[in-house]
């Protein structure tokens, strides 16, 4: 389904759509307020953007530094060109450990690679340990937001789900009660898992360490209880120096949820004695995106989700309307690079209002890239359909006489036609909107009469 169809469906439940909009607006508003308590906020964004420019310009050498230093620290480093290779590498490690049950903390990358269904097919039980992710996993849904995976669900729905899956009291919607039930359930899974998988927020080239940020401490709990830690990292997550974290950690939490700091910023450098630590560096379309001059900036993204919270489209159509792993504005500039045909409606799911670019902590020019993707996508459309009508319009606009004739025709037609014809079902504008009243003359005609 296309984005417009999905959005129309989402908006049918007006009360829920309004709630969704207001809930995410609340997060954005919180982000606005806390960002304004940092006088150097705009400077931080600029520095972060420049650090990422540097990373993207020298990605190859930073990755080699990172690999070398990580290996020195005793981490096993693997490279995956795509999702399949990544999934196979994970499975190989699990099979070597005879492991059939793992815990995983939030990782958009593993969603992108569709790791869960792959492992399940091979008999591995995967438990997502982030509360929101566990909720959507129970429902067999993907996350609808990269930071707030279950933001599309209301308390009551979670209460019903937990009653069914975790046997909580029916109708008890108390968040502490429900969270406690999840803790007890997850504790058992943590204790049994021999392997823990985490994502990576930042990989530090100079030290070979990596940082994982969670609010629930679930990454730490998983890793410290397991014998083997597998960290899955997109190759663009590199930062050159440890001190760069000072810039990014300040921006990340504030942009994501309006918190001053993420609860757990855990640094992983080397495995504990007797344990194993693996890191899988994944490309999966990233170098292809890096080669696209107009779109490579999208790789600066630190996955804070601020562009989703601010986007008037996302807030009113929900994450699933995008049909891509990363939804919202940033997803709409990343996804066409992976599959342009499948995601062809996404760059058009925007008014180009520019809020995403202004909110972005690393200053990605998101709305400009949406505009550029539109130019690319229409090249694949045929001469007919939209292309043809647009060419006709260009014919009209470059010729003043043709413009005048068609303008006059349009205005007189609008004056003469009955409303039933103007507001017929094919006139999408008129479905829920009136047309402006038609004036008797255009400004050009008025000017000629009165001023020349």
């Amino acid at each position: 389904m296309s984005h417009p169809e999905n959005a129309t469906e989402f908006l049918k439940d007006q009360a829920k759509a309004k709630w969704h909009d207001e809930t995410l607006w609340f997060v954005r508003d919180k982000r606005d307020r806390i960002s304004k308590t940092i006088p150097e906020w705009e400077q931080l964004r600029e520095i972060a953007s420049q650090i990422k420019d540097n990373v993207l310009a020298n990605l190859g050498s930073y990755l080699e530094d990172f690999e070398r230093n990580a290996q020195k620290n005793g981490i096993k480093v693997h490279w995956a060109a795509n999702g399949e290779e990544h999934n196979q590498l994970v499975l190989d490690i699990l099979q070597k450990q005879n492991c059939t049950a793992i815990v995983k903390s939030k990782s958009i990358l593993t969603e992108e690679c569709h790791l869960n269904p792959f492992l399940e097919k091979h008999g591995v039980e995967v438990v997502d340990t982030d509360l929101g992710e566990r909720i959507v996993q129970f429902l067999n849904q993907p996350p609808s937001h990269i930071v707030l995976p279950a933001i599309h669900l209301k308390k009551g729905e979670i209460s019903d789900l937990f009653h069914e899956k975790l046997h909580t009291e029916k109708g008890n919607e108390d968040p502490s009660y429900l969270t406690n039930a999840a803790r007890i359930h997850l504790r058992e899974k943590f204790l049994k898992a021999k392997v823990a998988i985490t994502g990576v927020n930042f990989g530090i080239a100079e030290t070979g360490e990596f940082v994982v940020c969670t609010n629930e401490g679930n990454a730490d709990m998983g890793v410290h209880l397991a014998d083997v830690h597998i960290a899955c990292m997109g190759i663009e997550k590199i930062l050159p120096r440890r001190k760069d974290l000072g810039v990014f950690l300040r921006l990340l939490a504030r942009s994501a949820t309006g918190q001053p700091v993420t609860n757990y910023n855990s640094h992983f450098r080397s495995p504990s004695p007797g344990k194993e630590m693996h890191i899988i560096l994944v490309d999966n379309g990233r170098t292809a995106q890096l080669a696209r001059e107009k779109f490579k900036n999208s790789l600066k993204c630190i996955r804070c989700g601020a562009c989703m919270n601010t986007c008037p489209i996302y807030r009113r159509s929900g994450g699933f309307s995008y049909g891509s792993t990363v939804p919202g504005p940033i997803g709409s500039i990343l996804s066409p690079g992976l599959d342009m045909k499948k995601h062809s409606t996404l760059p058009f799911a925007s008014t180009l209002c520019g809020s995403c670019s202004d909110v972005c902590p690393v200053k990605i020019n998101i709305h400009e890239q949406l505009y550029e993707w539109r130019q690319e996508i229409t090249k694949t459309h045929g001469e007919f359909g939209k292309g043809l009508s647009m060419k006709l319009a260009n014919g009209i606009f470059k010729s003043p006489l043709a413009y005048k004739i068609s303008g006059n025709l349009m205005r007189s037609a609008l004056k003469a036609l009955p409303d039933s014809l103007i507001y017929h079902p094919l006139n999408t504008w008129g479905k829920n909107r009136n047309l402006p009243e038609t004036p008797k003359e255009s400004f050009q005609q008025w000017y000629q009469k009165n001023r020349s």
Binding site: L352, S442, F443
Partner: protein, 252 residues
């Protein structure tokens, strides 16, 4: 008016020309009242924005060439639309053979309120407009041309339109809950994403209505056409005026 004063071309966007001639007239009269020498060059069509935003920038070469040729002789080009001005500056394709003229044009084309505050250096407008006015900041004007500070950025608040409006005697400025959220017009978006577009428009109207806006104004008639279309359909009693109409009426 001095004879050596700069010659200003009035650029009237196509839909304003066709549907809102009053906005064109108000813009012209307003600039004249402020002492400008203004001409409306005949033969204007459209800037090409609808095509470019729909993904067909490459098909606007003819339109853009015509635009440059038409406005080349003037010192300034002023339009009562932030959106069309942004398009000219950022999204019109490079025209071979007219590189210099095009670069010059990008520096001399202004949205109406920024022309008044930044070029004419008007600090304060004397006039009277005893109404409760709600301002709709068009995104292209606000975040594109930076006609006002944006709520996402940590910057000193400013708003060029507000500067012109707020000194008018009797005018009450309406503070909104969401000062700069998009109205959902978005050009072809209004039709291709109809459901979302209308929902966004309704939400903007609710914000204005709950804060007792009497007259909703803005610098872009396209946003206002969309909002007005929804309000009229739902019998909401709001008046809609372009900011040029308010300023022109107030200082007469």
């Amino acid at each position: 008016m001095k004879s050596d004063s700069p010659h200003i071309a009035l650029f009237i966007p196509c839909y304003v020309d066709q549907f809102y001639p009053k906005v064109g007239i108000a813009s012209l009269e307003l600039l004249e009242k402020l002492g400008c020498k203004v001409t409306f060059p005949s033969g204007q069509t459209c800037c090409g924005q609808p095509l470019a935003n729909a993904g067909y920038e490459r098909d606007t070469i003819g339109t853009t060439r015509h635009f440059i040729e038409l406005f080349k002789p003037f010192d300034y080009v002023v339009a009562p639309s932030g959106s069309c001005v942004l398009h000219i500056k950022e999204h019109s394709p490079q025209i071979p053979g007219l590189e210099n003229e095009q670069a010059e044009l990008h520096h001399k084309v202004y949205e109406l309120t920024e022309f008044i505050t930044d070029v004419l250096k008007v600090e304060k407008l004397e006039g009277k407009f005893p109404h409760r006015v709600g301002f709709h900041a068009s995104c292209h004007g606000q975040r594109g041309l930076r006609l006002a500070s944006s709520s996402e950025l940590n910057q000193t608040p400013f708003n060029k339109a507000r500067k012109l409006l707020e000194n008018l005697e009797g005018l009450e400025w309406v503070e909104l809950s969401r000062t700069d959220e998009c109205c959902g017009f978005g050009g072809t978006f209004a039709v291709t994403e109809e459901a979302l577009s209308v929902r966004m428009g309704k939400d903007r109207l609710e914000d204005h209505l709950s804060h007792k806006t009497e007259i909703l104004t803005g610098g872009d008639m396209s946003c206002i056409m969309h909002l007005q279309g929804i309000a009229t359909r739902n019998n909401q009693t709001l008046k809609f005026l372009h900011i040029a109409e308010i300023l022109n009426e107030a200082i007469s």
